[in-house]
Chain length 279, copies 2
């Protein structure tokens, strides 16, 4: 979060964070939204598969659905750091209308891409207005400080979470994915307890948060996005409780389904665009 | 919650709600607290096993630990409604310093005990000052409207939760158990969305909430208790969203580990009694 309270993302292209296991057949709401925002049919999408150790699975997952949605797709698997220095990879990023980070391990994204020409090209292309999307590990990596591991279905303790520097696309927020499905509120609260200034964003599976340049984010898909705002927390024992359970009080929680919006600047929920349901 | 904002429990004996899988060897903190509150060594405890279909397992679980803690234990298994009309069972309840509802299925507790002389004796004995405890299903059943089923590790939807009338010991609150371990925040939020007036209490395993006559509750055990207060929720789509995901905004969340306290009247967290950690 910048000092004036705006997210760095505000002046750049759209960022679409997806909570993993997004539909690729039937109604692929999250991916359809991504393609639409990239310009619709014949838009150029670069799928960046660096998070995965199985490039073939990435291709088999995304080739049919992006073809169905009418996008022209290139796959950049970038299996090692060396490949992220190749001018052809940099050029492919520079020509894309949308950049899609597939899932896997977020540490592969940052350890293999961090500081490379491809990483700089991704940021530059996004600053020029390209849509930047990531699912699962690809969503987590968008945070400035990202969650890289930690138990699900567990109460918050400092021991249940590991964090590392992320791509820094979404400043002032920590993103977690597979949120309800893997019982991850404990580990996201553990992150917030360590610095209640950051906004916690928990993305359910097959659900996306499309963050616009105006700081207004919209939920897309079949499940929910949970927002945890601990800025007004009246107490935290994070600095003392190295091994035991955490205390964290007065956290504001919002859970929003598809169509609902959230203003990341004011941290306030907004009603759906069609206004049919009041918030 | 009574109109004056006090819980009905206030003027009666202590209520100890346990989130299931409490330690029965090593350091059995939850059960030790129960026995201490019952008067310590030689206190009379009645274990009510009605929730379980396996009376032998209940006895094998609790006989050694209560013996170790010095309590004199009677087991009331009450396998059918008929047994809850037997004067001997009623008398056993009437003589106990502490009544302990073991786990199993909360619908067995209410369907087999509801409206029987034993149920009335339990309430009377508690009103006279006996300690009333319940673990897992036994904790859930203490609510006025209790959760009887619903998916874990799922976002809040009205479809993920089923509720039924509970024993009504703890008015104004809905209790869920195995809370972090089974990813149950979604289903507890589903309960609150349907009536944001009730306080949501989520008990982790091996963790208890001891609710005193003054409305102040203390967390005991190795994990945490989560309090969800949706009274100031600015929006809910519960009346429209029959099948899709729920929206619920501005829920206040507190997560407290052992030693921390919570005032159920004011719905405010309190620091531990020894005051060493600020809240």
């Amino acid at each position: 979060m910048h000092r004036d309270g705006t997210l760095a993302a505000m002046s750049r292209g759209l960022v679409i964070l997806i909570g993993g296991r997004e539909a690729t057949r039937g109604e692929p709401a999250c991916l359809r939204r991504f393609v639409t925002e990239c310009g619709g049919r014949r838009c150029r999408v670069a799928v960046i598969g660096v998070a995965s150790e199985d490039p073939r699975a990435v291709r088999e997952t995304y080739e049919p659905v992006f073809a169905e949605l009418g996008a022209e797709v290139r796959f950049l698997m970038l299996p090692d750091r060396g490949s992220a220095f190749r001018p052809e990879a940099e050029a492919a990023v520079g020509e894309a209308d949308g950049l899609f980070f597939a899932g896997g391990d977020q540490l592969r994204i940052t350890s293999l891409l961090g500081g490379t020409p491809v990483a700089r090209a991704v940021r530059r292309r996004w600053e020029e207005g390209a849509v930047l999307a990531g699912t699962s590990a690809g969503a987590s990596a968008m945070s400035q400080t990202m969650i890289v591991g930690g138990e699900g279905d567990a109460p918050p303790t400092l021991n249940t979470i590991r964090m590392a520097p992320g791509l820094g696309i979404l400043e002032g927020a920590v993103v977690d994915q597979h949120f309800a499905q893997r019982g991850r509120i404990g580990r996201l609260l553990s992150a917030l307890a360590q610095n209640p200034d950051v906004l916690g964003i928990g993305l359910d599976e097959d659900t996306a948060l499309a963050v616009g340049g105006d700081g207004v984010a919209e939920v897309v898909g079949t499940n929910t996005v949970t927002f945890l705002d601990a800025r007004e927390a009246s107490g935290s024992n994070a600095s003392e409780a190295r091994s035991s359970a955490l205390a964290l009080t007065d956290v504001r929680l919002h859970v929003l389904p598809g169509g609902y919006r959230f203003d990341l600047r004011s941290r306030r929920p907004l009603p759906p665009r069609d206004g049919e349901v009041g918030v």
